[in-house]
C-alpha cells in the first residue's frame, strides 16, 4: 500500500507530446481513474507508472520511494491489461502462482495463497483450466487474482472491462470496486468510459492531449467543470456564449444574445460560456433566468423527455424534463434555470 505522486511527468514520442507535465497526488488506498478520449495520454501515463515507458522528464514516487527509473519487476505493482494478458500456456493455477514463484515463496505458501485468492474471486474448481477454456468474465477475474495475489503496493488497470459485454461490464465495475476496497489498495484505473469512471472512482483525472484538464470527484467534474471541454466531455451540456458584465455576492451577470443571466462560476471576466445541463432547464418561469423559445423536437427516453428548443438568435437548447407534462413541436415555451445551475467557464481555445 502506498500513495502515488507524479511530478511534472512528461513523455514525448518523436514529435508528439503524449504526456505533458502531469502532476497528480494519489492518496493511499484511493481509486482514481485516468479518463479521456483515445490519444489523451492516459495509457502512456499508466505505462510510465508501471515502468514500461521511461519518462522524458518528471518523477514518480510510490510513497516516499522514487521509482521513476526502476525496472517494473522491482516496483511491486499489479497490472491488469485490456486483453487480460493471461499466459496461454499456463493453467489458471500457474498463472496466479507465477508472481509468487518469482518472489521465491515456499511451495506451501504458494499453495495456500493461490487457493485463498481463487476462493476470493470465486474460481475454485477452475485451477486446471487454460485461459482459452474460460469465459471473458472468468479470464478477467483470473487476471485480477494474478495481480492481487502478490500484495502489490499499487494496482494498475488498463481498460480492464472494455472487452466484456455491457451487462457483465456493469457487474464487474461494482466487483472491482468491492475488491479494491477490501484490499485497500491504491489503484489507478484507465478508461475512456465516463460512466465507468464515475461509478468506480474516488477521484477522476480527466486528460486531453497529454494535459490534465481537471482532477476531482465525479460531482466536481459534472457540476463545476474547469473549462468548456470538460463540460462537454462529461455528460450533456448546453453552452450559451456571453460576456461578463458584472458581479456581486459571488454571482456573475453575463450578457448573452438571449438576455442577461445571473450565474456562478470561476471565470470572472471577459468572454465566457455558460454551461447549463439539460436537466437544469425547466419549463415555466420559476427561476430567475428565463429564455423563450419554440419546441423543435421531442424524444421519449422512458424516464424523461428530451427536447430540442430553439431560442432567440439561433440558440439551440437541449431540455430534459420529466414526462408528466408534454409540449408538442411548434409550441412556444418559456424555460428557466437557477443561477446555481448556470456555471460559467472560459470558452475552449480553438
Amino acid at each position: 500500500m502506498a500513495s502515488i505522486t507524479l511530478r511534472d511527468l512528461t513523455k514525448r514520442f518523436e514529435s508528439v507530446v503524449a504526456v505533458n507535465r502531469l502532476s497528480i497526488e494519489i492518496q493511499e488506498g484511493e481509486l482514481i481513474t485516468l479518463l479521456g478520449p483515445s490519444g489523451c495520454g492516459k495509457t502512456t501515463t499508466l505505462r510510465m507508472i508501471g515502468g514500461f515507458e521511461t519518462p522524458n522528464a518528471g518523477e514518480i514516487f510510490f510513497g516516499e520511494r522514487p521509482v521513476t527509473w526502476l525496472q517494473p519487476e522491482l516496483r511491486n505493482i499489479g497490472i491488469v491489461f485490456q486483453n487480460y494478458a493471461l499466459f496461454p500456456h499456463m493453467t489458471v493455477w500457474d498463472n496466479i502462482a507465477f508472481g509468487l514463484e518469482m518472489r521465491r515463496e515456499t511451495p506451501a505458501k504458494i499453495r495456500q495463497r493461490v487457493a485463498a485468492i481463487l476462493d476470493k474471486v470465486q474460481l475454485s474448481g477452475m485451477e486446471r483450466r487454460y485461459s482459452h477454456q474460460l469465459s471473458g468474465g472468468q479470464q478477467q477475474r483470473v487476471a485480477l487474482a494474478r495481480a492481487l495475489v502478490v500484495n502489490p503496493a499499487v494496482l494498475l488497470l488498463d481498460e480492464p472491462l472494455a472487452n466484456l459485454d455491457a451487462k457483465l461490464r456493469e457487474e464487474m465495475r461494482f466487483y472491482i470496486r468491492h475488491l479494491q476496497r477490501e484490499f485497500g489498495i491504491t489503484t489507478i484505473y484507465v478508461t475512456h468510459d465516463q460512466a465507468e469512471a464515475m461509478v468506480l472512482a474516488d477521484r477522476i483525472v480527466l486528460m486531453k492531449d497529454g494535459r490534465l484538464q481537471q482532477l476531482g470527484s465525479a460531482e466536481d467534474l459534472y457540476r463545476r467543470p474547469h473549462n468548456a471541454w470538460v463540460a462537454e466531455f462529461i455528460g450533456l451540456s448546453n453552452f450559451i456564449p456571453g460576456t461578463v458584465v458584472g458581479r456581486n455576492d459571488g454571482q456573475l451577470s453575463v450578457r448573452t444574445a438571449a438576455g442577461v443571466f445571473a450565474c456562478t462560476g470561476e471565470a470572472t471576466t471577459g468572454e465566457v460560456v455558460i454551461c447549463v445541463r439539460p436537466e437544469s432547464l425547466h419549463f415555466g418561469p420559476q427561476h430567475p433566468n428565463r429564455i423563450t423559445g419554440v419546441v423543435q423536437e421531442r424524444v421519449f427516453l422512458g424516464n424523461l423527455l428530451d427536447y430540442r428548443v430553439e431560442g432567440p438568435d439561433g440558440l439551440r437548447l437541449r431540455v430534459q424534463a420529466d414526462p408528466s407534462r408534454q409540449f408538442d413541436p411548434g409550441t412556444s415555451v418559456e424555460v428557466s434555470f437557477a443561477p446555481a445551475d448556470a456555471w460559467v467557464v472560459r470558452p475552449s481555445e480553438a
Binding site: G50, G51, F52, Q71, P72, E73, R75, N76, I77, G78, I79, F81, N83, A85, F87, P88, H89, M90, F98, G99, M102, R103, Y130, H132, R146, A147, V150, L156
Partner: protein, 298 residues
C-alpha cells in the same frame, strides 16, 4: 471443430437435397499436377528400388530386396547418412541460434521497419543458390578474401572450403531466412503485454523471456527447425560446390548412383532409405513437439 460441425448440421435440414460441392473442383488442378509430377514418379521410384540391376542396361523387371540389403548393409552408406544428418542438425541449430534474435527483432520493431527488414531478410532468396555458393567460394577459397586478409597479416592459410565447415556456412546462409520467418510469425502473435505482465509480477527480462516468450514461440521454432532440417538433408548443390567431393552427403551419392553409375535400382533404394530415416526422425520430433505444445490443443 465440434462447434463448426454443429453449425453445419443445424443448417442441413434447410437444404432440400444434397448438392454437389462444386468448390471442391478448385483443388482438382493441383491434385492432377501433384499426381503426375510427384506421386507417379515417387511410386515409380519405390517400384524401381525393388528391381534387379543387370551388368548391362538399367534394370530388369525382377523382384529383389538386394538393393536395400546393400544400402543398409554397407557401413560406407551409414557413414554418409550420419554425415548428412549431422551437418543438417548443426545447420539447424546454428540457424536457430542466429535466427531467433533476428526474428525477435523483426517481430518487435514498428510496422514500417518490419516491412523493410522482411524484404532484406528475403532478398538473398532472389539470388540462385549456385550464384550464392560461388560467392562463398570467393570469400572462403584458398586465395579468397578471408585467406588474403589472414595471410597479409602473416597468418597461416585457413581451410574454409571443400570441407564440412564450408558446407555448413553455405547451408546456414541459405536456410536462415526460413528459420527467422517461421519464428517471427510465431513471435508476432505474442502480445507484448504478456511479457509486461510477467515483468510486473516480478520476473526479470531474462526470466520473462524463458518462462513466457520462449515457450509461446515454440510452434515457430518447431516449424523453422523442421523446415531447415528437411531442406538441409535434401540439399545437393551447396555440398557439391562448397564440399567438392571431400565431404559426401546422401543426395550426392544418390545422384551419382543414378547418373554416373547408372544404377537406378540402388539409387532408388538409397533415396528410400534417406526418406525413411528422415521421416522416422521427424516423427519422433513431432511427437516431442506435441508434448511440449499440449497447452495449445483446443
Amino acid at each position: 471443430m465440434a462447434g463448426v460441425d454443429a453449425a453445419v448440421s443445424a443448417q442441413a435440414p434447410a437444404v432440400p437435397a444434397r448438392r454437389f460441392p462444386w468448390v471442391v473442383l478448385l483443388i482438382v488442378p493441383i491434385l492432377i499436377f501433384l499426381l503426375i509430377f510427384f506421386v507417379i514418379p515417387y511410386v515409380n521410384m519405390v517400384y524401381m528400388s525393388f528391381l534387379v540391376k543387370p551388368a548391362e542396361g538399367a534394370y530388369i523387371k525382377q523382384f529383389t530386396l538386394g538393393n536395400y540389403a546393400r544400402a543398409l548393409g554397407d557401413p560406407f552408406y551409414w557413414k554418409i547418412l550420419r554425415n548428412t544428418f549431422w551437418y543438417s542438425l548443426v545447420t539447424t541449430v546454428i540457424t536457430l541460434v542466429l535466427g531467433y534474435p533476428l526474428a525477435y527483432h523483426i517481430a518487435r520493431v514498428s510496422r514500417r521497419w518490419r516491412g523493410l527488414l522482411l524484404i532484406l531478410l528475403i532478398s538473398p532468396l532472389l539470388v540462385s543458390v549456385i550464384v550464392r555458393s560461388f560467392g562463398w567460394m570467393i570469400i572462403l577459397g584458398r586465395v579468397g578474401l578471408i585467406n588474403q586478409f589472414v595471410k597479409s597479416r602473416g597468418g597461416p592459410e585457413l581451410h574454409l572450403m571443400y570441407n564440412a565447415f564450408g558446407i555448413i556456412v553455405g547451408l546456414v546462409h541459405v536456410y536462415l531466412p526460413f528459420m527467422a520467418l517461421s519464428i517471427a510469425g510465431s513471435l508476432q502473435n505474442i502480445s507484448p503485454d504478456l511479457e509486461r505482465a510477467a515483468r510486473s509480477l516480478g520476473a526479470s527480462p531474462w526470466r520473462a523471456f524463458w518462462r513466457i516468450t520462449w515457450p509461446l514461440s515454440l510452434p515457430g521454432v518447431f516449424a523453422g527447425t523442421l523446415l531447415v532440417f528437411v531442406l538441409a538433408v535434401s540439399s545437393y548443390v551447396i555440398p557439391i560446390l562448397l564440399g567438392a567431393n571431400n565431404v559426401l552427403v546422401m543426395p550426392m551419392i544418390i545422384v551419382q548412383m543414378l547418373l554416373d553409375a547408372f544404377n537406378w535400382p540402388l539409387g532408388s533404394a538409397l533415396a528410400m532409405v534417406l526418406f525413411g530415416l528422415t521421416a522416422a526422425l521427424l516423427w519422433f520430433y513431432i511427437k516431442l513437439m506435441n508434448r511440449a505444445l499440449r497447452w495449445s490443443v483446443r
